[in-house]
């Protein structure tokens, strides 16, 4: 592995205890069963899998929302263990997350300016005027206008809200950005705009992405490396071309086969098959 890995995850496990009733014993549900991977600085790791396979649990552990049950996570050379030590200001500034649903991830009672300034207010000692300038600069950077600064979230479309969520997540200039299905709630044309925005921002800020998705066409477009998860295990892990050209695990093959194809030849083939 390359030496410049910003994120090192070794044997990560996460169990949930499901409370038993009077007659049933408590059960243990393993959401993530021993996952290991590295992500190099400035690259994108795509995590693919069906719903319930542990993708979002992984995201919550990486962003220090939930603690891991076992295993180690190292971000930028520093091990994190929020169950023991909590989260420090510096660690928080290194990792941020963008959620799937842009309608739920913005506080409906907070104006956009306040949304963007909140991370700065809480983590830095920047004076108010500087915070405002930083927020305005960031609005422009993600393709919004300065007059959007004083508006409420409900006055924006889904794509614009996702831009705001992305802007909020990079206000602290994090090293690592976890994107939890950031485009799956958006329609296709807006998806492309957001993906392009993400690519531009990655170049500008030298960001590292962990991109969680179930959409293979999106993954092929944005990923450097791909990890396929299946029932909490990483069944496939390699560069994008390795995984896409030569899938080894049977689940990966099924997954690729399940992707709808819309080119003329495959439609003709399908029609021919139906006619036969």
């Amino acid at each position: 592995m390359s030496g410049d890995a910003i994120l090192k995850v070794r044997d990560l496990k996460r169990d949930y205890v499901i409370k038993g009733g009077i007659f049933t014993k408590p059960r243990i549900l393993s959401a993530v069963k021993g996952v290991s991977f590295d992500v190099e600085r400035g690259t994108t790791l795509a995590v693919v899998g069906e719903s319930g396979c542990g993708k979002s649990t992984l995201a919550r552990i990486l962003t220090m929302i939930d603690p891991a049950t076992a295993g180690t996570v190292e971000i930028d050379g520093q091990p994190i263990d929020i169950a023991k030590y909590g989260v420090s200001r510096e660690m928080r500034q290194k990792v941020q997350i963008v959620f799937q649903n842009p309608y739920g991830s913005l506080n409906p009672r907070q104006k956009i300016g306040a949304v963007l300034e909140e991370p700065l207010l809480l983590n830095t000692d920047m004076p108010a005027a500087e915070r405002r300038d930083a927020a305005l600069a960031m609005l422009q950077k993600v393709g919004l206008k300065p007059e959007h600064y004083g508006r409420y979230p409900h006055m924006f479309s889904g794509g614009q809200r996702q831009r705001i969520a992305i802007a909020r997540s990079i206000m602290l200039k994090p090293k690592l950005l976890v994107l939890d299905e950031p485009v799956s709630a958006l329609d296709l044309s807006v998806q492309a705009q957001i993906l392009n925005l993400l690519a531009d921002l990655q170049e500008e800020f030298n960001l590292t992405y962990v991109f969680i998705s179930h959409d293979l066409s999106v993954v092929r477009y944005i990923a450097d490396k791909v990890m396929v998860m299946y029932f909490g295990e990483a069944v496939e892990y390699g560069t994008r071309d390795e995984v896409f050209d030569n899938p080894r695990h049977s689940y990966t093959k099924t997954l690729f086969a399940a992707t709808p194809r819309a080119d003329v030849n495959s439609i003709k083939a399908r029609l021919a098959k139906r006619a036969a």
Binding site: T63, M64, I65, R89, R92, Q96, I97, F99, N101, G104, S105, L106, N107, P108, R109, K111, G113, E118, P119, L122, N123, R132, L136, Q140, K141, G143, L144, K145, P146, E147, H148, Y149, G150, R151, Y152, M155, F156, S157, G159, Q160, A165, R168, L172, V190, Q193
Partner: protein
């Protein structure tokens, strides 16, 4: 709205600040306009609000509006009937009571007490209820169980009976009556706040704020609470009227405001023995309570229509 691309920055710094401030004001104004649109769809609510505002004005300017002082006794006109009845006097529009005090003036001064009672009771019950409810809903676990069981115990008593017991312990008087009523109304606010907090605390924006570094206090009162306010505002309005009603009931039972305070419930109690001889001494205080409570309840209904997103059309 369209997906907009970045434009060039306006020339000067002050221009930017002024533009931002005006944009921000516009957004706030738009929200208020929307609120007023939904509120004004409900005609009863608007009428209730108008009556309530008129009542506030009358109460504030009572010394200017009232024709007589509330406790001046006119010894030549005991139990004078209202002006349109035979034997009525133009000086006493709604008649006088058994010791010769002008009923209209006493009602006007009584409005002050009623509004005062409503404001104080709701403030105590609301602030206590919000704090307990947010704590219970946010921390869950043993704290939640403890707070909610105590509230359940308070709710298990009939409300007026509990208020009566509390006043009996604390001693009769308007202040103690208000404290007792606030305690009795408190559990409703706690439950409502807790329920709202429970539904909000796991939303993505709360997680995002926590990731941005917000501590428990900020999350509870700055991030979650403003999103739980709509049902609380409605409940506060409805509690305002029930506080007035309960205070009148306590006054009627001799446990609230003490005579000669011109409180509406106390006025009713004093007039009890003249019910058959002089109908006006009981009717007008009763009507005042009825109409005020009705108006405030109508406003509460209108607020619910305006604030509850589930009832919104479009």
């Amino acid at each position: 709205m369209t997906e907009a691309s970045a434009t060039q920055t306006p020339a000067t710094e002050t221009a930017v600040a002024a533009k931002l401030a005006s944009e921000s004001r516009n957004a706030t104004k738009a929200m208020l306009t929307e609120f007023w649109y939904y509120f004004s769809q409900n005609r009863g609510a608007v009428i209730g609000l108008a009556f309530f505002l008129a009542l506030v004005v009358v109460a504030v300017f009572a010394p200017l509006v009232a024709p007589h002082a509330p406790d001046t006794q006119y010894r030549d006109s005991f139990l004078t009937p209202p002006v349109w009845e035979a034997g009525g006097k133009a000086a006493f529009l709604l008649g006088t009571d058994a010791v010769g005090r002008d009923i209209l003036s006493r009602l006007i001064y009584g409005a002050r007490y009623s509004l005062f009672i409503g404001v104080i009771v709701v403030t105590i019950a609301l602030s206590g209820g919000i704090v307990l409810g947010v704590i219970a809903g946010y921390f869950r676990g043993a704290v939640d169980t403890f707070i909610m069981r105590v509230m359940d115990i308070i709710l298990a008593f009939p409300s007026l009976l509990l208020a009566l017991v509390l006043v009996a312990i604390l001693g009769p008087g308007l202040t103690n009556a208000m404290i007792a009523i606030a305690l009795v109304l408190q559990p409703h606010f706690v439950r409502l706040t807790r329920a709202a907090v429970l539904s909000e605390r796991n939303r993505d924006y709360v997680v995002a704020a926590r990731l941005a570094g917000a501590g428990n206090m900020r999350l509870m009162f700055k991030t979650i609470l403003p999103n739980c306010l709509s049902p609380l505002i409605v409940q506060a309005t409805l509690s305002f009227s029930s506080a007035i009603l309960d205070a009148a009931a306590l006054g009627f039972l001799g446990m609230g405001a003490q005579p000669p305070t011109p409180e509406w419930g106390t006025m009713l109690a004093e007039a009890r023995e003249f019910i058959l001889r002089a109908w006006w001494v009981v009717t007008f205080p009763g009507l005042a309570i009825l109409i005020t409570v009705l108006a405030i309840n109508l406003v509460g209904d209108g607020l619910r229509d305006a604030l509850d997103p589930k009832l919104k059309r479009s």
